[in-house]
């Protein structure tokens, strides 16, 4: 295999020590620069003898564009241009260049031999050479540079070294080309142009069955159920594929449960993991599921994440690790990195430590965005070393507007929402268009998907899809529909053999089922489920929207006024007694507390929240716990002193912090409502009274209603309160924690944002699937379920398994083989178990083609 031996191309910055050396060097050079800073004329670096050895100035006339610009581009702008100014020295324009930096004036006009820049680029003063790293200038280049100075520093106004205008930033209306016969879909018209330009013919379109399997997995994440598939296949309508897409996308629950995994990866939402136990991290599952199930327009979806209420704040709160963390990983910096990566497709990770070497983002950019999420000015640290300078709030793209540094934290977040979701930002729609395209067709229009500053392989396709997406109200399902109903999506798949340097589109790339799709399909094939969800989220919240119909409005309560701003640490038992004429038909409770709660009804403890960060609404079915006559609900709520997770003492002004409790107990007896909400009818008893007298019940204060800051739960809370109990079993991996099988198949640990999963099959995965306990147990139980109702009709069982897993009946040869296997097995269950295993190991099952 000769391909193995051909050396792989080196990445642009492949010098192995580059990263280390630069990061170390930059701090050093800064100190040095400050120490040597001179007001005007610099101290000469060269001795007279050294100066005599300078390459003489070139004698020919120097042309800036031909002779000097390439030197600047190759050796200088990486640190002194494109928005960066090491040592306060920028060469973006002639004026910047002549103004110099910390080291003083770079040029002595007409005297190149005494110009600082020449002294430094000459390399004659070994400790003070520019460029600091990388290839030094040749004698010929120094000679040209000298001549340029001596000849009067000509520099055309048209040349500058400003930042490049990033690609994909401004919206661009590209319109729709005229339709060719059979290519009515506007997306296909653009792809047609692309193919024509490439001199390529349209590849064939897949058959209905292949299309169905593809589209089922892409919309609801499962294989097609045999009956629904048969219905589709027998549909004579020419637009049956469009109708299928619409029907599938109308399944709000299926859509939400499938796409939840995609968004969980992007938004770092999980059910277990670092930080969840001790309040260092907060789930957004409830908010996210509801937003997906209701198909909230994407601009609002993003707005709610960027300027969140208590339900959605987990994303920008980030993860608080215990102990000291690198300055680049404080929560505000995480918010900066993640907002930029997820919504704008931009990598600020490098720029969070130092001006980036891989793109044009600077430390000031990363801190500028982070400052939106900081209560106090952030001190800038370079490579974890404090610089003594404080960050200015700043948006990445000045072209789109700025943020007033004097604005309040709330106003800054609101402004960021405007900048990112405003219609002059063409990056937001393009980034999500590209992510969806990558997900559905296997290779992004822009690759890598988090380098959206780069152009797409077809700017018109991404621009048109983005334009269409915005024009249709940022409707994510509309975007999906556009792609899924196109002929482009329906082309035969292309097996990727090698990722070429320049991508050529010939059809969707073969994809592998995700860990969740594999795991869910196994349940689907074997008629199983996961039992309980790993989250308390009630799926009915997303599917109905009845909050407005509730008769009461709860208030946030606490025994002390102003507790929503500050309350002393301490806990109370909040209590309310009420009478019901009979036991309830149905009773549910929605509850949120700052910082935590324990729920007790009629003496039984029914649940409690995490210790901290419990301000999202939880939902309980309490029907069996209420009775005719007097009922007592007790909610123990605690306000804890803040915890910075560093083990450091808490500053006095932070010890008093927000506290509150909010609950809606919805009780139905027949059609009658007997609802109870938190209000002044409750009493509170201190948990740890200082004196016996202090143990007397206290009156509570109604702090405010659902819109009260800082929680701003609003109608979201009432929707939770109005939801019927969720009694359906959980059949989707997106709602449970990862098991060893899913981990092996690449479900990520969500401590980092994950936008693309590796799809390569590995030996360890294959081992987990060949003899791992998780799959083995699943197969055993599954085989029993599959066999139980059939009365031993093996051909029918085999037929059903094929249809459910591969969306087709077995061929005669396959049926005969399968029967042989099952009959040769020690018992039919074992035989079916092995058949399911073999079917699900087939590339035909694991790959989407």
């Amino acid at each position: 295999m000769p391909a193995v031996l051909s050396p792989s191309p080196l990445p642009a910055h492949s010098s192995p020590t580059l990263h280390a050396a630069r990061t170390a060097g930059s701090a050093f050079s800064l100190t040095l620069a400050l120490a040597l800073a001179a007001p005007s004329l610099h101290a000469s670096l060269l001795t007279a003898e050294q100066r005599a050895t300078l390459p003489p100035a070139a004698t020919r006339p120097v042309d800036f564009v031909r002779d000097i610009q390439p030197i600047f581009e190759a050796s200088c702008v990486q640190c002194h241009g494109r928005g960066k100014a090491k040592g306060s020295f920028s060469i973006e324009t002639r004026g910047d260049f002549l103004a110099g930096g910390d080291r003083g004036e770079p040029i002595v006009p007409g005297d190149s031999a005494h110009s600082l820049v020449v002294e430094m680029i000459s390399g004659l003063s070994p400790d003070d050479v520019m460029p600091e790293k990388g290839k030094r200038l040749t004698a010929e280049q120094v000679a040209l540079f000298r001549a340029w100075i001596d000849q009067g520093l000509a520099w055309p106004d048209s040349v500058n070294f400003h930042r490049h205008e990033p690609a994909n930033l401004r919206p661009r209306e590209v319109g729709t080309p005229a339709a060719a016969p059979g290519l009515e879909h506007p997306l296909d018209r653009w792809v047609d142009r692309y193919f024509r330009a490439q001199g390529a013919a349209w590849p064939a379109v897949v058959d209905d069955r292949t299309f169905a399997r593809r589209v089922w997995f892409d919309t609801v994440g499962l294989p097609p159920p045999p009956e629904a598939l048969a219905e589709f296949l027998s549909d004579p309508a020419p637009n049956r594929r469009e109708r299928l897409v619409q029907r599938l996308l109308a399944d709000d629950q299926g859509y939400a449960e499938h796409w939840l995994s995609f968004w969980n990866d992007l938004l770092r939402n999980d059910y277990r993991g670092t930080g969840y136990i001790d309040g260092g991290r907060k789930q957004i599952t409830g908010w996210l599921y509801t937003a997906l199930a209701r198909n909230v327009p994407y601009d609002q979806f993003v707005a709610q994440l960027i300027h969140p209420n208590a339900e959605a704040e987990g994303f920008t709160r980030g993860i608080l690790w215990r102990g000291a963390v690198n300055a680049s990983m404080i929560p505000a910096m995480q918010a900066s990195q993640n907002v930029a990566q997820v919504f704008l497709g931009v990598n600020l990770k490098c720029a969070s430590c130092h001006d980036s070497f891989i793109n044009e983002y600077t430390l000031a950019d990363a801190y500028g965005l982070a400052s939106v999420y900081a209560d106090e000015p952030l001190e800038v640290a370079e490579c974890d070393k404090p610089t003594g300078e404080f960050a200015q709030v700043k948006f990445l793209y000045a072209e789109l507007g700025g943020i007033d540094p004097k604005a309040s934290p709330e106003a800054r977040k609101q402004r960021l929402v405007e900048l990112i979701t405003g219609q002059s930002n063409g990056r937001l729609p393009r980034t999500i268009v590209n992510r969806f395209w990558q997900r559905l067709l296997g290779h992004g229009l822009v690759e890598p998907v988090d380098e959206m500053d780069r152009p797409a392989w077809s700017p018109e396709i991404i621009d048109w899809l983005a334009e269409d997406f915005v024009a249709n109200g940022y409707d994510l399902k509309h975007l999906l529909t556009r792609i899924l109903t196109s002929r482009t999506y329906q082309l035969e798949s292309v097996g990727l053999s090698e990722k070429p340097e320049t991508f050529v589109f010939r059809g969707p790339v073969v994809r592998r089922l995700s860990a969740e799709q594999f795991s869910d399909s196994l349940r689907f094939i074997t008629l199983g489920d996961y039992g309980k969800a790993a989250t308390r989220y009630n799926r009915n919240v997303g599917l109905s929207d009845l909050g407005d119909a509730l008769p009461l409005r709860p208030s946030w309560i606490w025994p002390t006024a102003g507790a929503e701003r500050a309350a002393a640490p301490g806990g109370y038992m909040f209590k309310r007694t009420f009478t019901l004429p009979t036991g309830p038909t149905v009773a549910t409770l929605a509850i949120a507390a700052d910082d935590n709660y324990t729920l007790r009804i009629n003496g039984s403890q029914l649940g409690n929240s995490a210790r901290r960060a419990s301000t999202s609404a939880d939902h309980y079915d309490v029907t069996p716990h209420l009775c005719a006559g007097e009922n007592v609900i007790e909610l123990i709520a605690e306000n804890l002193p803040p915890d910075d997770h560093r083990g450091d003492p808490i500053p006095a002004h932070k010890i008093d912090n927000p506290a509150g409790l909010l609950a809606y107990l919805r009780i139905r007896i027949g059609d009658e409502a007997h609802d109870v909400v938190t209000d002044r009818q409750w009493t509170a008893v201190p948990l740890r009274p200082a004196t016996p007298a202090a143990a007397a019940p206290l009156a509570v204060v109604e702090l405010g209603g659902l819109e009260l800051s800082p929680w701003r739960l609003g109608p979201d809370f009432l929707d939770v309160a109005a939801a019927a109990p969720d009694t359906r079993p959980v059949a989707r991996a997106s709602l449970v924690a990862a098991d060893p099988l899913m981990l092996a198949l690449g479900r990520p640990n969500r401590e980092q944002v994950v936008t693309v999963r590796l799809e390569t099959a590995t030996t360890l995965q294959a081992l987990e699937m060949t003899n791992g306990g998780t799959l083995a147990a699943l197969l055993r139980a599954g085989a029993q379920r599959v066999l139980a109702p059939t009365g031993g009709d093996l051909p029918a069982v085999i037929d059903g398994l094929y249809r459910r897993s591969l969306a087709r009946p077995p061929t005669d040869a396959e049926r005969a083989l399968a029967l042989d296997l099952v009959r040769a097995a020690p018992n039919p269950t074992a035989g079916i178990e092995d058949l399911i295993w073999a079917l699900t190991m087939l590339p035909e099952f694991q790959l989407l083609r």
Binding site: M1, G323, G495, Q752, G773, L817, A824, L847
Partner: protein
């Protein structure tokens, strides 16, 4: 996998003419090779022709992990012994065991480590291990730091030492996973935090750990699933092959995705059916030999002491489990494992994590490690494998009775220490100490009978001479394997190195031939 692997494997093959054939290598390497070519896996920062390799003194590494914080003053760096008596001033207690001589004149260990002491003449002892300053002390963060070389959190998932090595050197035998992790369960507390570093991270799961959480049941890891006999297992696979041939898709042309899937299945099956897989089956080891690792061993023995965090008896009840892990490591070395970690197991408040009963629990911990560590050294030496196997016995940090952190960076105490000791449960090293720590190295080109580093004889028993950081220790391990400290891979266009920022410097004086 990459060109580095190819050339290294080629070099290895020259020294081991019968170990394996080129054909076998190509079969196994293909998945990852294809992955690398497809851009799915991170690329090496160097082209093969540029890979500067150091002369290797070791081919494989065994990490013996003392999870939970092993006090240096109670193990390999004993100080003045103060026996228990009611009314002790805790400030006066430095060691709760007397010291014993070792095979090296002038080097003493703590009582209970007699067998390891007897093989000290084959080892190098580092006494100045420096844990990082991570503020408020958490075991899982320090373990992450020790195992990846990077301080968490990181913006990309950092790979475990074993994954770095697996990625760079590949398996020694294609039928044995390159990174085997023995003895750690992930459902006993801080499991998610442990998983965060027990991973190949951005290198991709091909290089991830083959986890064997129960050494006594290691054979299960390479056996057919429970309840399935070998015949049925073979039949199932045969059927799968026939189904593949029969399936309409199976007859279609090949593509990368399909090839990688089938190749992975082949590799898995090869491992499960290879002679090497017998190494996992401890029942094939002669009983007397097993008993040298765990004197009380009874065939089929399981370890299921209740996880009693306060009784102080758990450790005694688990003696033997780590020993079987060491035995398994030896057997895997013999069939060509590349990187093995055997842990005493990190469980919050158990094993080396002695927040209480520090003295009495250490009696059990020492029994847990003494015989098997010594026997592993002897067995590998006897088989001629020690010279090319680097054993590293280490812990995330040390412990002290009084000091949390280190003198110049004291951090918030987590364990209350009474003014006067009136209960044996307070007798022992209960706080987390980061200014010193012991690491024991054997084989792999390290010196024999050598001590590096000196610590103070009075509290705080900190490093006085020759401190060694985790980065330096890693650089030393990599150097022994011939991997330069600035070897790295590209992730999101950022260069990521085997040692932090590529800056690790090996401690040359530890090598027998510096």
């Amino acid at each position: 996998m990459n060109l580095d692997l190819f050339s290294l494997q080629a070099a290895w093959r020259r020294t081991q003419p019968d170990a394996w054939t080129r054909r076998r290598f190509l079969q196994t390497a293909s998945v990852a090779t294809l992955a690398a070519l497809a851009g799915a896996a991170p690329r090496s920062l160097r082209a093969a022709s540029q890979t500067p390799r150091l002369p290797a003194t070791a081919d494989r590494v065994i990490v013996l992990w003392m999870g939970g914080g092993m006090a240096h003053t109670e193990t390999f760096d004993p100080k003045r012994f103060t026996p228990y008596s009611t009314g002790l001033d805790p400030n006066t207690v430095l060691s709760t065991f007397p010291s014993i001589p070792t095979a090296v004149e002038g080097v003493r260990f703590s009582e209970g480590l007699e067998q390891i002491a007897s093989v000290m003449d084959r080892g190098t002892l580092l006494r100045g291990m420096q844990a990082a300053d991570l503020g408020f002390i958490l075991h899982s963060r320090h373990q992450y730091n020790w195992h990846t070389g990077y301080v968490p959190p990181q913006t990309v998932a950092a790979p475990h030492l074993g994954a770095w090595i697996a990625r760079t050197l590949g398996p020694m035998d294609p039928a044995v996973p390159a990174f085997i992790n023995i003895g750690q369960r992930f459902d006993l507390g801080e499991g998610e935090e442990l998983k965060a570093f027990t991973t190949a991270g951005f290198l991709g799961s091909e290089y991830g750990p083959f986890n064997v959480p129960f050494p006594e049941q290691a054979a299960d890891a390479v056996r057919p699933p429970a309840g399935m006999g070998p015949d049925r297992f073979a039949d199932r696979n045969k059927f799968y092959r026939r189904l593949l041939e029969t399936s309409p898709i199976g007859q279609e042309g090949s593509d990368f995705q399909k090839e990688s899937l089938l190749r992975a299945m082949d590799n898995a099956h090869r491992l499960l059916s290879s002679p090497a897989s017998r190494a996992f089956d401890l029942s094939l080891e002669p009983l007397e030999s097993t008993r040298r690792y765990f004197p009380g061993y009874q065939p089929g023995q399981r370890f299921d002491a209740p996880l009693d965090r306060f009784g102080g008896r758990y450790e005694e009840g688990m003696v033997g489990r780590f020993g079987l892990g060491c035995l398994l490591a030896r057997r895997l070395c013999e069939v060509g494992a590349r990187f093995i970690e055997v842990t005493t197991e990190y469980i919050p408040f158990l094993n080396w994590d002695t927040h209480e009963n520090g003295h009495s629990r250490l009696v059990g911990m020492k029994r847990m490690i003494d015989a098997p560590v010594a026997q592993l050294v002897r067995d590998l030496d006897e088989r001629g494998l020690l010279d090319r196997t680097l054993i590293v016995l280490a812990s995330e940090f040390s412990r002290d009775m009084m000091m949390e952190g280190k003198p110049e960076k004291a951090v918030k105490d987590q364990v209350p220490v009474p003014e006067v000791i009136t209960d044996p449960k307070h007798y022992g090293m209960h706080r987390h100490f980061t200014a010193a720590g012991s690491v024991l190295l054997f084989g792999g080109g390290m010196r024999r009978g050598h001590v590096h580093g000196i610590t103070a004889d009075e509290r705080p028993c900190r490093t006085l001479k020759d401190p060694v950081t985790i980065t330096e220790l890693h650089a030393t391990i990599y150097a022994a394997l011939g991997i330069p400290p600035d070897h790295g891979y590209d992730v999101e266009k950022r260069p990521f190195y085997v040692t932090s920022d590529g800056k690790g410097v090996p401690v040359r004086s530890l090598f027998a031939r510096a």
